[in-house]
């Protein structure tokens, strides 16, 4: 049940950058002045009509927004219960929701006079989006990517290089997204005067979680008017479902509906091989506890001594031991519910979407779809589910082929 003492879920974060216990600014002193400057610049931009005019123009003409809200008729019939809509953010330029946020941060970076952009990436989607926007604006772009991810996401590495970005494989730690974020922070501390760190999710020190959420909220705002257009004025979704790694596509869908109590909100974490004591998963909320990493306090996968554990997921984009602080707060207050889906369940959903709707989803939203498959049959026909199809699966066909025992060699 949601916490009755809270009047609105849309007023956070507070002045300390907190969502309840979570969030904050846990960074070294070198970065603090820059983070405070960024916060001031963002606060100004938020109410500056010229900033949003620039965003709206680029969203429309460069990204292709609004993305469609699509009634998945065959999927609905197949599951035999709730009416299922897919928010088609996989149709955006670069193939995922990531570019919604990158555009906002790069416009801000340009207004701050920064000439060098750095980013971290896991699956490569945020890296590709950042490299794309940097190419468009002629900015230098450096992307940190775990050496292990460089290997398993070779097509995206090539894309970034084509777009003129320098991709630096990170070998520290175990070479995944967490380590890429560490090295991006090290770069930032070293090049703090000319460099803007374009974070790809709703995590990191304040103001990043709020800023990235605001840029991604275009997803939920569109859903609100698009659903009314198709289902009648004032009709709200009954259930929202989105996949969560750091949680930016989910925050983008959820945020505009947080104060609509009739709307059920469900986030889907990566359950990997199963959420149990073997810890071969990335379900920070279901399998972790609060801690401090990468500038914020949030639920983290960690051992008894506060050392951070590596996550495990078939999806490189969900392979992160933390989650955005606002999700931790929504979890603790009960406003949103969080569940987990295993690799095997996600693979099944991936194939069902291909066969029934002709949509090859990324492995990340395949987790969300797997949960839709679980609950839709139990719900009445007039119950509306909106699921965020946040990325397309072109990048994942090699991984999926391997798991299905299909030989891709020609």
């Amino acid at each position: 049940m949601a916490d009755a003492s809270i009047n609105s879920y849309m007023t956070g974060p507070d002045e300390q950058g907190r969502f309840g216990l979570f969030g904050g600014r846990f960074v070294s002193e070198t970065l603090m002045p820059l983070i405070l400057d960024l916060e001031a610049r963002y606060e100004f931009a938020k109410t500056d009509p010229t900033f949003w005019a620039e965003m709206d123009w680029l969203w429309k003409h460069y990204v292709g927004r609004p993305s469609p809200l699509y009634y998945a008729e065959r999927l609905t019939k197949h599951l035999g219960g709730a009416k299922i809509y897919l928010k088609r953010d996989e149709l955006n330029h670069t193939g995922a929701h990531k570019i919604n946020n990158v555009l906002g941060q790069i416009i801000l970076a340009r207004r701050m006079g920064k000439t060098r952009i750095i980013a971290e990436t896991g699956a490569g989607q945020h890296g590709v989006a950042t490299a794309t926007v940097c190419a468009k604006f002629g900015l230098q772009c450096v992307v940190y990517m775990g050496a292990h991810d460089v290997e398993r996401q070779a097509p995206n590495v090539f894309r970034m290089r084509l777009l003129g970005a320098e991709v630096i494989p990170v070998t520290s730690g175990r070479g995944t997204l967490k380590d890429a974020m560490n090295d991006a922070l090290r770069d930032w501390v070293t090049n703090v005067r000319d460099t803007f760190y374009c974070i790809g999710t709703v995590a990191g020190p304040h103001p990043y979680p709020a800023m990235v959420r605001d840029f991604q909220s275009i997803i939920g705002k569109e859903v609100r008017w698009q659903l009314a257009e198709q289902e009648g004025a004032g009709r709200l979704p009954d259930t929202l479902i989105a996949a969560i790694g750091g949680g930016s596509n989910a925050m983008g869908l959820f945020y505009p509906f947080l104060d609509d109590p009739s709307v059920n909100i469900i986030g889907v974490e990566a359950g990997g091989k199963g959420v149990d004591d073997r810890m071969q998963h990335c379900a920070s909320l279901t399998g972790g506890r609060p801690g401090v990493l990468h500038g914020n306090r949030t639920y983290l996968l960690q051992d008894d001594d506060g050392q951070i554990l590596e996550g495990f997921s078939i999806s490189a984009g969900l392979d992160y031991p933390g989650i955005g602080p606002e999700h931790s707060w929504l979890h603790d207050t009960g406003r949103a519910k969080y569940v987990s889906i295993t690799d095997a369940e996600a693979l099944e959903a991936f194939q069902l979407s291909c066969k029934l709707e002709g949509i090859i989803p990324a492995l990340e939203p395949s987790h969300a779809l797997a949960h839709v498959m679980k609950i839709a049959p139990t719900l009445p026909h007039d119950h509306i589910i909106v699921m965020n199809m946040c990325g397309r699966g072109d990048k994942d066909i090699f991984t999926v082929a391997k798991h299905l025992g299909f030989d891709m060699k020609i």
Partner: protein, 263 residues
């Protein structure tokens, strides 16, 4: 008055600069790091910074990252680090020990419990890299209340407007980070650092110790000359990482300390 305050008073009376040495607890194993720590005062080290390993040391360069990995792979825990300090205290009750690291292992243990245990182990001060003044309520204020110094970092980006905030709840000494960057990176240039140290000293009576980018006895001398002392970390940790015998590690520390004390 903590051991840190007493140490600076004694150094001032002798007209000497402070030499601060950093080692990582448990690197490459508990016995070796305990042996190195035991030998540091004899090598001329005035204050010991004892690193607490963390899986994600975002302000550290490769040398200290690897030290942390070796330590964690060897089974180091926060409890073992506190036990190591307590064992050192049995034979040395004057050399200050400052624990240095990141917040999560402390938060995970529980701040109140950590402070009681650290005090009991003979710890004198804390440097926690990812706790800026904006997060003082987390650990800084409770630590001061428990009688531990909370030593803050100031950096080249800490401008005049921000400096008072950085100094406000700092005690023991101020650690000036001589470069924008990570540990073990570019060398600090005394000519660039001197005006920065002067700028800070104009606003505080606390000793100002300079660290990051100091790796030779000459560099230690050059930096110590323009401040109240200097910190060397990566250069010592590199020797330990290379598997040099404890006696050789300590001989190199002694040379660095002699450099700082010449200033």
């Amino acid at each position: 008055m903590t051991r840190i305050d007493a140490k600076f008073a004694a150094l001032r009376a002798e007209g000497k600069k402070a030499f601060v040495a950093y080692i990582m607890a448990g690197d490459p194993d508990l016995a070796t790091s305990a042996a190195v720590m035991q030998g540091l005062p004899g090598a001329g080290v005035d204050i010991i910074e004892l690193g607490m390993p963390f899986t994600d040391p975002m302000a550290d360069g490769p040398t200290i990252q690897l030290a942390g990995q070796r330590s964690l792979e060897g089974g180091q825990t926060l409890q073992k680090t506190l036990d190591m300090a307590a064992a050192f205290r049995k034979s040395d009750n004057t050399t200050p020990i400052v624990l240095m690291g990141y917040y999560n292992p402390i938060y995970s243990r529980g701040v109140a419990k950590f402070l009681v245990d650290a005090k009991a182990a003979g710890i004198d001060g804390l440097i926690v890299v990812d706790l800026p003044p904006e997060e003082d309520a987390e650990l800084c204020i409770p630590a001061q209340a428990a009688g531990l110094n909370f030593i803050r970092l100031a950096t080249p980006t800490t401008d005049a407007k921000r400096l008072p905030k950085v100094l406000q709840n700092t005690s023991g000494f101020l650690y000036y980070v001589s470069i924008n960057g990570i540990t073990g990176a570019a060398a600090a240039n005394p000519a660039d650092v001197a005006p920065e140290v002067a700028r800070i000293k104009a606003k505080t009576d606390l000793p100002v110790i300079v660290g990051f980018g100091i790796s030779t006895p000459d560099a230690a001398q050059g930096i110590a000359a323009i401040a109240d002392g200097c910190v060397v970390g990566s250069a010592i940790v590199k020797d330990i990482g290379a598997g040099k015998p404890v006696a050789e590690v300590l001989a190199n520390v002694a040379a660095l300390a002699a450099g700082a004390h010449r200033a």
